[in-house]
């Protein structure tokens, strides 16, 4: 019998935790001057340091430190007065030195929290630490069926990504979310992403791997201690975070129900199936032989510098939302919806550009969200600015465009990169307001569809839709559908 999610949360309390890796948006790498630009030809952004050539040495990127402190402050962390980098030693071909320069027991930022809201309730996610490290290169597996590591004949390594500054944000275990644990986990990553964007420290493109999550999940019976956790890797979208927690809860519950034990293990999330599969089983934890990185000196941020950074932080998403709820007059529920869709700022900016709140909200949650979804980009990366959207809304309001035409204009902007007015001019998206032309088109439609016309005459009013469609088609969508419908109904003697 398949276990239902309701059964699981009725009998078990989930605890989750997240380790989030974020690539910082610095111009150069963590320890060398190579560019961090995404998508360059293989091995063109490499130098002695990030290739781990014999003799090369690291020097810390100051902006990476500053960005990490910004993140720490935004997450209500303490900033270490003195900390060091450490070497995490393990062999892997995408790691040039066969150790990762990271931080171990002395993270730059520690002991913070982030509050997130789900279904009107606030949850506090404790932040254990925020520390700095460097990214690895990228392996491509050749041969075998799937491009996966197993069954491959050999692999190819590109070190462009090696040494890009990486921040790891580790939460404390989060209990108490109950059935909403998956949503709270997702809300945390969403909020974190918005904070990172607001801080301007990362472009946070999950699809390019600049934000990656490992999700820890455990279950325990009420009143009992926290259960054994599993770590799910490869969770690389907001939706996947939610799915990964949920699927691990279901999997663990069915094992526990059967009287089995949960083993502490690493599992991999499959975007395709939405569930987790076991990774390499580790009989014992890898010993990384951490020791302080002797090629670097300690980082001891001057308290004055930290306070200067704190004073310069932008308005964070939570504060901005509170302000927008106030100034836009939207409800808290609405705000949560906007927030989940990642369009709070876009709506705010659209309103600032002169659009009414309702219209701005509807566009960004409606057609624009659909476009972002189908193009697989975040709304902010869609390629249409808030000002352009405000312009469209204005053109609809003054009758220049129908809603359908406005949508075509959006398509045009997204495809061409030109602005709204240029697209309207290029594509001739003027609304047909010439009544004579519309009357003619309506007559033609009636003549061409006598059966439909009869149905409408007989009182089946919804059938008129087919005729409206024909007129719209004839006018290439440039007519106002409402006006066309009125004309048709009048001509058929069936006016509402």
């Amino acid at each position: 019998m398949t276990l239902s999610y309701e059964d699981v949360v009725a009998r078990y309390e989930p605890v989750f935790g997240l380790e989030t890796h974020v690539e910082l948006g610095t111009a150069s790498k963590m320890f060398c001057g190579c560019s961090t630009e995404f998508g360059a030809a293989p091995n063109t952004h490499t130098c002695p340091t990030c290739l781990g050539l014999p003799g090369a040495l690291p020097v810390v990127n100051e902006v990476a430190i500053e960005s990490t402190i910004k993140i720490g402050l935004a997450l209500n962390c303490s900033i270490a007065p003195w900390c060091r980098f450490a070497r995490k030693n393990y062999f892997y071909p995408d790691m040039p030195k066969n150790f990762q320069t990271s931080q171990y027991d002395e993270p730059l930022c520690f002991d913070g929290y982030l509050d997130v809201e789900v279904e009107g309730k606030s949850y506090r996610v404790g932040i254990e630490r925020v520390h700095m490290e460097e990214d690895t290169g990228k392996n491509t597996h050749v041969g075998g069926a799937t491009g996966r590591i197993h069954g491959a004949d050999y692999s190819l390594v590109d070190f462009n990504r090696a040494g890009i500054p990486l921040i790891e944000i580790v939460t404390k275990p989060v209990p108490g979310a109950g059935a909403l644990a998956p949503e709270v986990a997702r809300a945390y990553v969403t909020e974190l992403r918005d904070i990172l964007r607001t801080l301007g420290v990362s472009d946070v493109r999950m699809e390019q791997g600049s934000l990656r999550c490992d999700v820890n999940t455990s279950l325990n019976k009420p009143g009992e201690e926290m259960g054994t956790r599993t770590e799910t890797k490869n969770v690389n979208s907001l939706r996947s975070v939610e799915r990964a927690v949920r699927s691990e809860m279901l999997r663990q519950a069915s094992l526990l129900d059967a009287g089995e034990r949960i083993f502490q293990e690493t599992r991999h999330f499959s975007e395709a199936t939405g569930d987790t599969r076991p990774g390499r089983s580790k009989e014992e934890a890898t010993d990384y032989r951490y020791f302080p990185e002797p090629d670097l000196v300690p980082v001891a941020p001057d308290p004055e510098w930290v306070e200067k950074i704190r004073a310069g932080l932008p308005e964070l998403p939570a504060a901005r939302r509170a302000r927008l709820i106030e100034s836009l007059g939207v409800s808290a529920d609405d705000m949560e919806q906007l927030s989940n869709a990642g369009v709070v700022d876009l709506v705010g900016a659209t309103v600032e550009a002169g659009a009414p709140v309702t219209e701005a909200r509807n566009w960004w949650l409606g057609y624009l969200a659909q476009q972002a979804n189908s193009r697989e980009v975040e709304p902010t990366d869609l390629g249409i600015s808030a000002a352009q959207v405000a312009r469209l809304i204005a053109l609809v309001a003054d009758g220049t465009l129908s809603v359908a035409l406005a949508r075509q204009a959006v398509d045009g902007v997204l495809d061409s990169g030109h602005d709204v007015d240029a697209v309207i001019a290029e594509r001739g998206l003027q609304r047909v307001s010439d009544t004579g032309a519309l009357e003619q088109a309506a007559d033609d439609a009636i003549a061409a569809n006598p059966d439909v016309a009869d149905k409408v005459r007989a009182g089946k009013l919804p059938a008129v839709g087919a005729l409206v469609g024909a007129v719209m088609k004839a006018t290439r969508g440039q007519a106002d559908a409402g006006a066309v419908k009125d004309i048709l109904l009048r001509k058929l003697g069936a006016a509402e």
Binding site: G52, N89, F291
Partner: protein
């Protein structure tokens, strides 16, 4: 021409600058000498005849054009093979790097070239600088110009032998636990380990990052100081490079050469003499101390009780760091690859490569270091060794309250026979007894010849507080001025 090889670097530079000889003539004389004696000495792993003559030609052209020449322009130099040189083979004495042609220059390589110094080639060394005899080189041992059956010291034995054997007036070595000072001592030349951070490590193939320091060899204190000033100075590519002006070592060497040490307090370290030291070495050392007193120095005895723990601490820290530093030799991006037959996995190939590419001493140290860093042992080994380091620093601090410089023999022994200690790692390790404290404390120390024992050179080590490298040079120059220069018997390389 024969005379050109016996000139000091300072004299050579002067003659080149004045046009008395050309840099090309000087380079050619040294290349000829290398051609004549290196078959016996085996100091060089790679001789760059073409590059050397080209560099010399450039110096001559600059002179002809009336350009201001640097203080060592046109002087030949031998570079330890641990230093990365763009376009020139660099192996660090290891098979695993055989054939590697670096695409970049170490900071010191660049500085040497920019100074118009003529690099003759790359010198032999213990593999990855691990050793005290140069016998751990994958390319065979180097001989001592005083006695070809004996070691030239190590790990910079190729660089010491080249200078002592008149193949070059100057060379570069690196010193992690004594690898400049001990070779200088046993070949009768001058070698200085600068304050940690005084000379950039960018482009030195790392052995133990917190200890490695490059430094100069010369046949005179002044030559050594002149080279020191070329290679030292802040480098933004090395995070541990000290952002301060270079200590005025050339001025100190010139000042010291006047032979007056009045008012200088010289501390004799009680723990760096006695049992375990050869009688001839101790006799030479005592005579040296007497000479310093004659020169006006005030001799005091100081005690550094934690120096006896320098050896265990060093042999934990250095292997630990090397186990991590040498992890990069994995057959992926450069160097040797063994066993890539289309069947073996990457893991197999990495193992086979490292098994075939590293020599026994390197493997021993990787094993010890891996163990000392492992999670159950870190505190007892690496962690504890770093604390011992603090105690050694404190011993130095206390001693430098009583004395301006500290002295000891550089090595407990004179050059021993090739093959004598290879099978016994501990017997090899105690060569570093006197040099390790300054390595662990990061303080500067120089070795200057102080006579012979059994016909072989003995070195006097002069240690100074961090950043006070000039004190080493001043005292060494005064001592040098009051003693005879050591020259190996001509018949050895005849």
């Amino acid at each position: 021409m024969g005379d050109l090889i016996s000139l000091t670097a300072a004299e050579t530079a002067e003659k080149v600058a004045s046009g008395e000889v050309s840099a090309v003539e000087v380079a050619q004389a040294h290349l000829d000498r290398i051609g004549a004696v290196d078959g016996k000495l085996k100091a060089f792993l790679h001789v760059d005849t073409e590059g050397a003559l080209e560099a010399a030609k450039a110096v001559d052209a600059h002179r002809a054009a009336g350009d201001q020449l640097g203080p060592l322009a046109g002087v030949p130099l031998a570079m330890k093979d641990v230093v990365v040189t763009k376009g020139l083979p660099t192996t660090s004495g290891s098979k695993i790097l055989q054939g590697w042609i670096p695409p970049y220059d170490a900071t010191i390589s660049k500085r040497v070239k920019d100074a118009g110094i003529v690099m003759l080639g790359k010198t032999n060394m213990d593999e990855f600088a691990m050793g005290s005899s140069t016998e751990n080189s994958a390319y065979g041992p180097t001989a001592n110009p005083w006695d070809l059956s004996r070691i030239p010291g190590g790990s910079s034995g190729g660089s010491s032998a080249a200078v002592a054997g008149f193949e070059a007036p100057l060379s570069i070595g690196t010193d992690t636990g004594g690898s400049i000072r001990q070779p200088a001592a046993v070949t009768g030349i001058v070698g200085h380990k600068p304050t940690y951070g005084a000379v950039s490590r960018y482009g030195l193939i790392a052995f133990s990052s917190s200890l490695d320091q490059a430094g100069p060899f010369g046949r005179t204190v002044l030559d050594t100081a002149l080279l020191h000033e070329v290679i030292a100075g802040h480098d933004p590519c090395d995070s541990t490079s000290i952002p301060q002006p270079v200590a005025p070592v050339v001025a100190a060497a010139r000042d010291g050469a006047r032979g007056d040490l009045a008012g200088v307090r010289v501390g004799v370290v009680r723990e760096l003499q006695g049992e375990g030291y050869q009688a001839g070495v101790l006799a030479a050392f005592e005579a040296a101390v007497a000479k310093l007193r004659e020169l006006g120095a005030q001799i005091v005895e100081v005690s550094c009780p934690h120096f006896e723990y320098a050896l265990p601490a060093y042999y934990l820290i250095a292997p630990s760091e090397c186990s991590s530093n040498l992890a990069r030799f994995d057959s992926v991006r450069y160097g040797m690859r063994v066993g890539d037959d289309g069947v073996n996995s990457l893991e197999d190939v990495m193992s086979l490569t490292r098994e075939a590419g590293f020599g026994p001493e390197v493997k021993r140290r990787i094993i010890i270091g891996t163990y000392a860093l492992s999670s159950g042992y870190y505190d007892a080994y690496y962690g504890q060794a770093q604390k011992v380091r603090t105690l050694i620093v404190r011993d130095f601090t206390a001693a430098f309250e009583q004395a301006d410089v500290l002295v000891s023999p550089t090595s407990p022994f004179v050059a021993f026979g090739l093959g004598e200690r290879v099978a016994d790692p501990m017997a090899m390790y105690i060569n570093d007894l006197c040099t390790l404290p300054a390595s662990l404390a990061g303080t500067p120390a120089i070795s200057v010849p102080c006579g012979l024992s059994e016909g072989l050179p003995v070195g006097l080590q002069i240690m100074a507080p961090a950043l006070a490298d000039d004190r080493c040079y001043r005292v060494a120059a005064a001592f040098e001025a009051a003693t005879d220069r050591l020259v190996p018997p001509a018949e050895v390389l005849a």
